[in-house]
Symmetry: C2
Subunit: 236 residues, 2 copies
């Protein structure tokens, strides 16, 4: 058996090792919320890894809001308590790559919400942006070209119009996974792509007329086929 490098795999292992090490430190030393983590140099020495590895792990935990590095001062533990940090890190370590089904399920959940919210809160500017995205999609489809991206941008425009920055962020996070899985599963056939133009138009109209209930319904209709593809049952 060859001694392979497996650099990418290793690097993830190293990062998880550091993250769990930080968790243990917080537990063992019982660091209070708002306290400082040991310095990056100490951590790299303690865990036997490079300082850049430590910095990467810290950046990841920073993304999840657990740590906050302060220049020339130290990295501070978020003021959310030891118990929460333990639970969160435990979950973060176990996080697996999202499967297509869970992506779709989540996307539909978010999209139905954004459709309703956008209908309620959309500004005139939002409307213009959605219209632009819609036209771009139609043009691509009528030219017989692939329009997966334009489709996504139409939906992201609605997300932005929802006035909920958190949902918008979450939509962005799941979007790449959606696109790559779409292409992998060959979800979009010719009929659906053309049908979607009409569905999009109806969604747009509902948002324009500020009818949340209708916008939600039309969005649900729009996702019916995709949902059935994943779950073999109707979208309730």
């Amino acid at each position: 058996m060859k001694l392979e490098a497996l650099t990418k795999n290793d690097s993830k292992k190293v990062q998880n090792k550091i993250i769990s090490g930080i968790r243990d430190l917080i537990n063992y030393k019982n660091l209070e919320p708002g306290e400082k983590l040991p310095s990056e140099r100490m951590l790299s020495e303690k865990f036997g890894v490079s300082r850049s590895n430590v910095r990467e792990a810290i950046q990841k935990l920073e993304f999840y809001g657990i740590l906050k590095p302060m220049p020339q001062s130290g990295t501070f533990i978020a003021n959310i308590g030891v118990t929460a940090i333990n639970g969160m890190i435990e979950d973060i370590l176990e996080l697996e790559d999202p499967d297509f089904k869970s992506l779709v399920e989540t996307r539909i959940l978010l999209e139905l919400k954004t459709a309703g919210l956008a209908a309620t809160r959309r500004t005139e500017e939002d409307l213009i942006n959605i219209r632009k995205a819609l036209d771009a999609y139609n043009k691509k489809v009528l030219d017989g070209k692939d329009a997966v991206q334009e489709d996504l941008l139409f939906h992201l425009a609605i997300a932005k119009a929802s006035g909920n920055s958190t949902i918008e962020t979450l939509m962005l996070i799941i979007t790449p996974g959606i696109i790559t899985n779409f292409e992998k599963h060959h979800v979009c056939d010719e009929n659906q792509v053309v049908l979607a133009m009409k569905e999009h138009e109806e969604i747009y109209k509902a948002i324009e007329n500020q009818d949340p209930q209708l916008a939600k319904e039309k969005m649900k209709l729009h996702f019916e086929i995709l949902y059935q593809y994943c779950y073999k049952t109707q979208l309730s």
Copy 2:
């Protein structure tokens, strides 16, 4: 006027500059999906920033699934098309820090879903974990101590039982913002904390009995007060 350092602010500006620079590169050079980005060294020189700055920006875009660094080979652009990348980066650059309202709105959306899904899909092991979290919360409350963290862990246990890894990830992402804003707004008073024990119990029972509709209803009830605090209207 003093020439202040503003290191933290600057570093964000630098990162955005790099990210938009990368976007422009992709547009201008019209890099096809799956192609390589210019090397980190070239980018750092082109943008007049350090290579570590470039690496950080790349790591951020990696998180959003737009870039994928390959050791000793290059950083590859996700196979999601130029248009989608443009739209996504545009949004990422404009992303603002989540406000409390949007956090709560999103949390309720996710929690109602996880409650229903957990009721349908929970395993025996899930049930045990939820029970544990529930007991931990009760103990803290009965001891008259703060139990915000234990509360969150109860809800995260339900999220895990939902069997939807994507939603679980999203819950984790919004959790720190929730906790810090909770403390800022002093949302939890004594009455609610005690009342929550009963509500939690009912949610648990519904999940145990695999009654999705009831679980969702009980969860909605559980969030009623918080929602009214944010929006001054009833949770529809």
